[in-house]
C-alpha cells in the first residue's frame, strides 16, 4: 500500500480545477501550472526511486482488497512512463508560454492541458481495465477540446473526424470490456490474467484479444493510423507536441500491458498479428514521411514509424526486445516532444509550414539548426544519443526470436526517418532565402521555448550517455513485462 500513487493523478486534477477560477489572470495561470508541473516531476522521480528499492507499489482505493476494489499499480514500467510524461509535459508547458498565444490561454488552455495529464497518468497507473477506459476518456475529451481550441476552419474540420474515430473506438472498447466480463467475470487486470490463464485463452478469448488490439491500435496509431496525420496537423505546435509525445504512447502502453499481462497464453496467434501490423506501420509511415513536403505531416508520419517500431519490440517478445521497447518508448517521448517543439519553432521563424517557402535559416538561427540536426541523429539511433540503446535491444531481441524480415524492415525504416528529417534540415536551413516572400518574424526562439528545447536536448544526450544507468531501471520494468507473475503476486497479495 502506498498512498503516494494517487498523487500524480490528484495534483494535475486539482491544478486544472483551480485554474478555471483564474480565467483572466494569465501570469497567475502560468505560475500555478509551473509549480504543479515541478511538484509532479518531483513526486514521480521519488516514485521511481521507491519502486526501484522496494518493488511494485499498489494502492487499494477505499481499502477494498482486489479483485473487488479498484487498484492503482505502480510497477517500474508505469512509474517510468509517468516520470517521463511529467518531464516532457513540463517542457511542453514552458514551450506553450511563449507560443500558444494569450487568446488560447484565456480560454482555459492550461486547464485542458492538466486534465489531459490526469488521463495520461491515470492510464499508466491504473490496474483495472474499466478504469483504463475511464482515464482514456478523460484524456480524449481534453484532447478534443485542445484540438479544437481556437476554432480555425482547419481545426473544426479535423476535430469532427478525430472525434468520430475516437467515439467509435471507445464504443468498441466498452463492447470488448463487456465480452471480457462475460467470459471471465472480473475486471481487475491481475485477476484477469489469472482467470484467462485458467481458461487457457481459447477461441472466444482470442477474439476479445483482437478486439482490444483493434481498439488500442486506433488510439496508438498502430496500422489504423489513417486519422492521425490530418488531425495532428490542425492544432498549434505545443498541442501537437503534447499529442505526439503522450497520446499515442498511452495507446502503446495499453497494448504492451494487455499483451504482456492478460493475453499471454497464445503468443503465436496475437504475436503474429502485432508483428504484421508493426511491419505495415513502419513501411506505410516511412513512405508517408518521405512523401510530404510540409513540416507537420513529415513529423506526424515520424510518430507513426516509432509506434510501429515499439510494437515490433513487443511482437518479438523476448526479454531483450521487451527491455528495448521500454527503453525506446522512453526515448521516443523525449525525442518526439523535442521534434515537435523544434518543428514549431522552424514554422514560426519561417512564417510558413511548407518546406518550399523556407531556406537559408542556418544563418539566422544557427542554434536551432544544429539542435534539429542532433535530434535527427538521435531519432535515427546514432550511438551516443538516446535512440541507440533501445533500437539495439529491439533488433537483437528480434534476431534471437528469428524475425529477420521484421528486423530488416525496422532498420530500413530508420533510413526513411533519416531521409525525411534531413530533407527538412536541408530545405529549411541550407540554401538561399526563398524567393516566395513570406512574413518573417524574429520570434522563432524566444525565452521559455528555447529553455524547453535546450532542456529536452540535454536530456536526449544525457539519456544516451548514461544508458547503462537507465538500463538498470528499464530492465526492472522489462522483468515485470516478461514475468507477469511478479505483477499478479504484488497485486493479489494480502
Amino acid at each position: 500500500m502506498s498512498n503516494l500513487l494517487v498523487l500524480p493523478v490528484l495534483i494535475p486534477l486539482a491544478t486544472a480545477v483551480i485554474l478555471i477560477f483564474f480565467k483572466e489572470k494569465i501570469r497567475l495561470q502560468r505560475g500555478i501550472s509551473t509549480t504543479s508541473g515541478l511538484l509532479n516531476l518531483f513526486i514521480s522521480v521519488f516514485l521511481v526511486q521507491r519502486v526501484h528499492s522496494e518493488g511494485i507499489q499498489t494502492l487499494q482505493m477505499g481499502g477494498w482488497a482486489p479483485p473487488y476494489g479498484i487498484v492503482f499499480v505502480g510497477d517500474m514500467f508505469a512509474v517510468l512512463l509517468v516520470m517521463m510524461a511529467s518531464l516532457v509535459s513540463f517542457a511542453i508547458l514552458l514551450y506553450s508560454f511563449s507560443s500558444i498565444g494569450a487568446e488560447r490561454e484565456r480560454f482555459y488552455y492550461y486547464s485542458f492541458f492538466h486534465f489531459l495529464l490526469v488521463g495520461v497518468y491515470g492510464s499508466f497507473l491504473t490496474g483495472d481495465i474499466f478504469n483504463l477506459f475511464v482515464f482514456f476518456e478523460v484524456m480524449l475529451i481534453s484532447s478534443y477540446a485542445l484540438i479544437s481550441l481556437g476554432g480555425t476552419r482547419l481545426q473544426l474540420r479535423e476535430t469532427s473526424q478525430y472525434l468520430l474515430i475516437n467515439i467509435v473506438s471507445s464504443t468498441l472498447f466498452v463492447a470488448a470490456v463487456a465480452y471480457l466480463y462475460a467470459a471471465v467475470g472480473t475486471l481487475n487486470m491481475a485477476h484477469l490474467s489469472l482467470r484467462i490463464a485458467e481458461a487457457g485463452q481459447n477461441g472466444v478469448l482470442n477474439v476479445i484479444a483482437i478486439l482490444f488490439l483493434i481498439v488500442f491500435s486506433l488510439k496508438a496509431g498502430l496500422f489504423l493510423f489513417f486519422w492521425l496525420p490530418g488531425s495532428y496537423s490542425a492544432p498549434p505546435a505545443a498541442v501537437r507536441a503534447l499529442f505526439g509525445a503522450l497520446l499515442t504512447k498511452v495507446g502503446l502502453y495499453a497494448i504492451i500491458r494487455t499483451f504482456t499481462l492478460l493475453f499471454v497464453n497464445d503468443p503465436g496467434f496475437t504475436g503474429d498479428w502485432i508483428a504484421w501490423m508493426a511491419a505495415a506501420t513502419m513501411i506505410l509511415g516511412g513512405l508517408g514521411a518521405v512523401a510530404y513536403k510540409d513540416i507537420p505531416r513529415i513529423l506526424n508520419y515520424n510518430v507513426i514509424i516509432s509506434v510501429g517500431f515499439v510494437a515490433f519490440g513487443l511482437a518479438a517478445g523476448t526479454a531483450d526486445s521487451l527491455n528495448g521497447a521500454v527503453f525506446y518508448l522512453l526515448h521516443d517521448m523525449l525525442a518526439k516532444a523535442l521534434m515537435f517543439i523544434l518543428g514549431g519553432m522552424i514554422i514560426t521563424a519561417a512564417g510558413t509550414d511548407r518546406l518550399a517557402g523556407m531556406g537559408g535559416m542556418i544563418r539566422r538561427y544557427p542554434l536551432l539548426g544544429w539542435m534539429f540536426f542532433i535530434l535527427a541523429l538521435a531519432l535515427v539511433g546514432i550511438p551516443p544519443l538516446s535512440g541507440f540503446a533501445g533500437k539495439l535491444l529491439i533488433i537483437r531481441g528480434a534476431l534471437d526470436a528469428g524475425m529477420l524480415t521484421l528486423a530488416l524492415i525496422g532498420l530500413g525504416s530508420s533510413f526513411l526517418v533519416l531521409y525525411s528529417l534531413i530533407k527538412v534540415f536541408r530545405l529549411a536551413f541550407w540554401g538561399d532565402d526563398p524567393e516566395i516572400v513570406v512574413p518573417k518574424t524574429k520570434r522563432g526562439m524566444k525565452g521559455t521555448s528555447a529553455v524547453a528545447a535546450v532542456l529536452l536536448l540535454l536530456l536526449v544526450i544525457l539519456m544516451g550517455l548514461k544508458s547503462e544507468a537507465v538500463y538498470t531501471y528499464v530492465s526492472q520494468a522489462g522483468e515485470v513485462l516478461s514475468t507477469p507473475a511478479l505483477y499478479i503476486e504484488s497485486v493479489m497479495k494480502e
Binding site: F130, R153, S160, A175
Partner: protein, 111 residues
C-alpha cells in the same frame, strides 16, 4: 429475454452505423449516441440478466443482481453524455464557421 436484448442491441448498432455513414454532421452525432446506447445494453446483457433483489446492505433475499455492470454503465453513460454534448457544440460551431453541415463540402473546402 437475452434474445430480445440481443436483437435490440443489433437494431441500435445497425441504425447507429447507418446514421454515422450519412452526410449530415447532425445525423452522425445522433448515430454515435445510438451506438453508445447499444453498447450499454450489450454490457448489461453480457453480464447476465438475473432476477433478484438490489444488492443493498441489510436486505434479505435469496438472489441478488450483480451491481457491477450497472455501475459500469452509469459511468459510461455519463461519459457518452459529455462527449455527445461536445460533439453537438462542435457541429453547431462548424455550421456557423464553415456555413454547412454536410461532411463532403466541409472536406472539400480549401483554406
Amino acid at each position: 429475454m437475452e434474445l430480445l436484448m440481443a436483437v435490440a442491441v443489433g437494431i441500435l448498432f445497425t441504425i447507429g452505423i447507418y446514421l454515422i455513414l450519412s452526410k449530415s454532421l447532425l445525423r452522425i452525432v445522433l448515430g454515435t449516441s445510438l451506438l453508445t446506447h447499444g453498447v450499454h445494453l450489450l454490457l448489461l446483457t453480457m453480464a447476465g440478466l438475473k432476477k433478484g433483489a438490489a444488492p443493498v446492505l441489510g436486505g434479505t433475499a435469496d438472489t441478488y443482481v450483480d451491481p457491477l455492470p450497472q455501475a459500469l454503465i452509469l459511468t459510461s453513460i455519463v461519459i457518452s453524455f459529455g462527449v455527445t454534448a461536445f460533439f453537438f457544440v462542435l457541429a453547431y460551431r462548424s455550421y456557423q464557421t464553415l456555413g454547412t453541415d454536410e461532411i463532403d463540402s466541409i472536406k472539400e473546402e480549401k483554406e
